[in-house]
Symmetry: C2
Subunit: 122 residues, 2 copies
Amino acid sequence: MEKYEAVCCESTEVHEDLLKIVEETMPEETELYDLAELFKVFGDSTRIRILFVLWKAEVCVCDLAAALHMTQSAISHQLRILKQSKLVKSRREGKSVFYSLADAHVRTIIDQGREHIEEDDR
Amino acid sequence: MEKYEAVCCESTEVHEDLLKIVEETMPEETELYDLAELFKVFGDSTRIRILFVLWKAEVCVCDLAAALHMTQSAISHQLRILKQSKLVKSRREGKSVFYSLADAHVRTIIDQGREHIEEDDR
DNA sequence: TAAATATATGAATAATTGTTCATATGAAAA
DNA sequence: TTTTCATATGAACAATTATTCATATATTTA
């Protein structure tokens, strides 16, 4: 076999039904891509740690770097990615730029993730 | 500056407070790592598409490959990753192996992600 | 037992990505 | 204006990863 023929698993009917359902309910290709891109942003422990700090307070880049024991450059690069996906927002105050969480989804998504991995222990 | 000195941004007190809060409330290093690993799994459009198919029904590998127009091998590799992070479970029935969503967190996380990216349009 | 079908997996390759280093930009102070 | 401080960013390198190809395993059928 190989290379997605229309029929496999010997049962033709079920297969056709599935294809129809998938075609009807699957989100647009761009939405699937955007979704994956969003979760990719959560998929790095540095960015996760940044989000946890911002969970507690609005913090400037410099303090973030100090709190996480990383260089200003590394933090700044990651903040740009977080901002591009609208997970954080920023506000300039003099020489400093303060970052904070952008909306409630960030907390919900992280909370659900934590619940999921904690289930492994039970 | 550079290389995370203890003090920066000229203000020492606020900084010390932040460091204390972060140290007290930041999850364990292993949990942060596991969280990032979990979201990394969501961060691929092929796996997202697999999850959307399983959203509707319990499906065998072969049908998944057909529905998503991908090779059996590619799907199988991704299913292994999804299973390792306990997002899907499997059940053997004769020659076929049927996969389904493992728990409710999958749906919640994806739903929250969709809500987040949809906000951009408003 | 041998052949056929469904799935799993190791190795290789191409593409993506996080951090570092050097440097640029932007704002305040001297 | 010049200097200093805080942040942003481009280029380069190392590390990770998704897919393909070939092949192995597991189950059923002949």
